[in-house]
Amino acid sequence: MTPILIALTIGIPWLGAIIVWLMGDRREELTHWVSILFSIGAAVTSVLLLPNASRETALTIPIGGDFGDFTFVADGLGIFLSVIAAVIGSLAVIFSKNYMKGEASLGRYYAFVLFFIGAMVGLVLSSNLLLTFLFWEITALCSYALISFHNDDPKAVKGGIKALIITSIGGVGLMVGALIVYAYTGSYDINNFLANYSTIPGNILALLAFGFLIAAAAKSAQFPFQTWLPDAMEAPSPISALIHAATMVNAGVYLLARFYPAFKDVPYWSEAVMIVGALSALLAAVMALVSNDLKRVLAYSTVSQLGYMVYAIGTGSVYASQFHLFSHSIFKALLFLSAGAVIHSIGTRNMLEMGGVGKKLPLVKWVFIIGALALAGLPILNGFWSKELILESGLKNGPLWLYIVMVFVAGLTALYTIRCVWLVFFGEPRSEYHAHAIGWEMIAALLPLAGAALVSWLAAGRFSVLLGEKSLPFHAIEPLPYKEMMHEVLSLPTLVVMVVITAAILLWVFRKKLEGLINGLKSIRWAAENSFGFEAINNAIVKVTQSTAEALRVTQTGILNWNVFGILASVIILLAILVLGA
């Protein structure tokens, strides 16, 4: 049963992708419905996989040679992520029916969305490192194609290429890692590696561990690779919700979670992971606080929350990190889709031009507030439970100063969240805008997510069993029923965090009175608006490459004498090298 379900969960969206591409742009309504059909099909089969979690190799496609056999394992970690990918994928597709109405090239749009869903499922279910990398690169391709969907907009094209290049550079880390695993253990199989990782010499294992960390950091837009995610917001909002909040950026966290047992003993690795996570969380939270673009705030917020997940893995609690991933996918997708509804309706992304939207779009306001409360980590929403679990693990296993930083970031999160909600939905409209009503498709996508944000934490127990011994033999995750989890979370450290969050909210409410303090932090504000120098570094790298290339063009002189000279020069140089080298 399981092999068929795996094949279907990948195959159905891919088949849909081919069909939708070939359908072209001739019949818009049909294209929408066909895509919705295929995405729901994938969602159904992925959910059907849930009861069958096991660590046995479920599906094998023999290839042989230096490519190993393409194997798939339907274990808990993989299944839960594929359910997220497929279900949120179908919600995004349903949302797109309204959001992308009347756009051209819909065939290309839906084809890449469906292709992406299949690839993401394949990525998490694969048990062959080469295959994992293959799907990794395919998701990068789809992400690039969808960010630069509006090819006529130079910003979108630039954003797409930037995302492609930065994530691919990180991907080199995964690629080298996969090659090392193959060279030293003779097989690409992940479970085989996790069982035998001690046979790899220490320095090579360290190279492997840090290579994977770089790959994960680039894919999940962590420090120092975080610059691509805000620019990826040029993509249509359903894409931002699906790819850049709920699924693809989670691939990095997935990688770290999957390979944690092998790397946890590598010297300095856990510390590096914690610092990467904490730095990303902090820097992104500050940048979110000063940004005026609604989607950019959410993008920075994603980076920040992913930082929490990465930090959690560094402290050793894979369960907390994955639980937060679960909550985050839900509430962040919710936030992006509602933001998309607002942007689609109002016509601008600039929060300074909004205000009072809540009066025109009350439903959107309420679901956005639900998502915001989950993001800020307020009880009883799912974000609260998962974030507290992470902070608990941090207090227990990580250095105290990092814990304090993460609590501070929790406060910042609350602050920028309430700022966002306030600027958009409350107050008086700050510019002339006309709010279109939103369609039923958007509502149909938003409501389930809002509901899930309220109750998904109740599945904590089931979730821990899913990740437990039966499917992840090397991770040692204990079952944690939700009542026990509630008991664990509702304790003194949580109270401290609640105080910090309340303080942050009060800060916003009394912001007029604190003008002096805010003015004093102007230099930090300036640094944050300039992304703390990372954009400048990116631009410098691009500029250097381009000017080197331009300078090199001189060598192609076009004059025959120089060409022949080149031939003779090489003979002489080679002879010299050989004679000297002997």
Binding site: D66, R108, V157, I169, V176, T545, Q556, N563
Partner: protein, 503 residues
């Protein structure tokens, strides 16, 4: 049929077919005589298909009888894995190019010359793969070179084509002369030029052998477009008719590489240095190829520079196999030869299709620029998709075949378990990403909604041109998801190569 007969006809058929095709074309060349030229084209396709059948029969015979070889006087010709893969690649690509050129070269002056020369090129490349003797190698190599000189300068009314042809001729001839000196030196030292004899004899490090080796590498290297011997390449590949550009980038350069490998095979056991030279050239090619392509504005020139980079990957693979004895390097190098010929062939054919509809069909001999590609996908969806697929495949993105072939080469590098080689592997991977920096914007341009003026005024895409584009696209994706489908070819070739190095 005896194996000797099959083998000899495999080698001779193109050279018999070429004058027949040419005569037929010439004799029926009257204005508006469509039948004559159609017959010529059909005959070319027919001969290529027959050649393919002969190849298949020879392979079957070889497998059953344990090897196919032929002795013409003292010249040995052996049908091994390297010859097989080269013959398969050249026949497949040649067939695609012929189908493509039926519409592309329609009504060009001297069209029958084109097909005849194409046949001789194909024939000489097949022969090149079979030769086991240095001088024989040089001879087939020279035949291939002469055929391509005429093909590059095909548009002999256009000064840029002539210029490209002359530069190509002079540099290639210099290379050939250097090869001759190298062969003469080896001959003077050892008294023999058959490879099997040379493998036995050259275990003593005669100083002249080193000089001969360098001359051979540089001499064949001109044709293989090693940097800094590559300066003829951008001009020749961009000025030739698009089908020939595809052949040049796809097989001719690789044939030069195979010739070079055969020639220096005797040095395989002697020294580590020779494999290192290949790896060094490989890295240089990859870097320079990608950097130079980054700033190009003409499509065909951009693709030509990217060929430099891909030859670099092949050199890396072969260098790994020569320096460290890694089988994956040899198999990977040949795999990349196969996939690159298909992807670069598809890229040039798709770009050629667009060049044809946008410019050539209106008799304007201007190069296709990147700006011309804006919005091409709406009017020419198949060509745009094919070009996008080929170009992203060249950048190493799955599920196209380039990903798998690059992977196999990098496996060889890591398995060598050498820190320097690990750095080379990372360098090669990063360069792959650098190449995306000029491939991705190209694809983005094609999928704009706002068409360029050229696209708006472009004519209709002829039907037959699309057929090879579709066939190649499907082949690339199939090999990309199922790499073992061609492993029988590449592994055979890899084994043969290691045999020649470490006999």
């Amino acid at each position: 049929m005896t194996s000797n007969f099959l083998f000899s006809s495999l080698l001779l058929l193109p050279f018999l077919a070429a004058p027949i095709v040419y005569m037929l074309g010439r004799l029926t060349a009257r204005n508006g005589n469509v039948l004559g030229i159609s017959l010529t084209r059909a005959l070319t396709v027919f001969f290529l298909l027959v050649e393919g059948c002969l190849l298949y029969l020879v392979v079957k015979q070889a497998l059953s009888s344990g090897g196919a070889y032929l002795l013409i006087g003292d010249e040995p010709l052996v049908f091994d894995g390297i010859g097989l893969i080269l013959a398969c690649v050249v026949l497949f690509l040649g067939l695609m190019v012929t189908l493509f050129s039926i519409d592309y070269m329609n009504n060009e002056k001297g069209e029958e010359k084109f097909y005849a020369l194409l046949l001789t090129t194909i024939g000489s490349i097949i022969g090149l793969g079979m030769s086991y003797d240095l001088f024989n190698l040089w001879l087939w190599f020279e035949a291939m070179a002469i055929s391509t000189y005429l093909l590059v300068a095909f548009y002999n009314d256009e000064p840029p084509s002539l210029e490209a042809g002359v530069k190509y001729l002079v540099q290639s001839a210099v290379g050939s002369a250097l090869v001759m000196f190298g062969i003469a030196m080896i001959f003077s030292q050892t008294g023999s030029i058959t490879l099997t004899d040379l493998w036995q004899l050259t275990s003593s490090e005669a100083p002249l052998a080193k000089i001969a080796g360098v001359l051979l590498i540089v001499g064949f290297g001109v044709k293989t477009a090693l940097v800094p011997l590559h300066t003829w390449l951008p001009d020749a590949h961009s000025q030739a008719p698009s089908g020939i550009s595809a052949m040049l980038s796809g097989v001719v350069i690789e044939a030069g590489l195979v010739a070079m490998l055969r020639a220096i095979s005797m040095f395989g056991k002697v020294d580590f240095n020779w494999g290192a030279i290949l790896i060094g050239f490989g890295c240089l090619n990859i870097l320079i190829g990608n950097l130079m392509a980054l700033r190009q504005t003409q499509v065909k020139r951009l693709l030509a520079y990217s060929s430099l980079a891909h030859v670099g990957y092949m050199l890396l693979g072969f260098g790994f196999s020569m320096a460290f004895g890694r089988f994956e390097g040899a198999a990977g190098g040949f795999f990349h030869l196969l996939t690159h010929s298909m992807m670069k062939g598809l890229a040039f054919l798709a770009a050629g299709a667009l060049l044809f509809t946008l410019h050539l069909s209106k008799q304007e001999h201007v190069p296709l620029t990147l700006d011309d590609l804006n919005g091409a996908s709406r009017k020419y969806p198949v060509a745009a998709f094919a070009l996008g697929l080929a170009v992203l495949g060249l950048g190493g993105i799955p599920p196209m075949a380039g990903f798998m072939s690059k992977w196999q080469i990098l496996v060889a590098g890591v398995k060598a378990e050498n820190t320097l080689m690990l750095i080379v592997v990372i360098f090669a991977a990063l360069n792959s990403i650098l190449s995306l920096g000029y491939y991705a914007p190209l694809v983005n341009r094609m999928y704009r909604h706002e068409p360029s003026t050229a696209v708006e005024q472009g004519s209709k895409m002829p039907g037959l041109i699309i057929v090879p584009l579709v066939i190649l696209s499907i082949a690339i994706v199939v090999i990309g998801v199922w790499p073992s489908s061609v492993q029988f070819l590449t592994e055979q070739a890899g084994l043969s190569l290691l045999y020649t190095f470490f006999y």
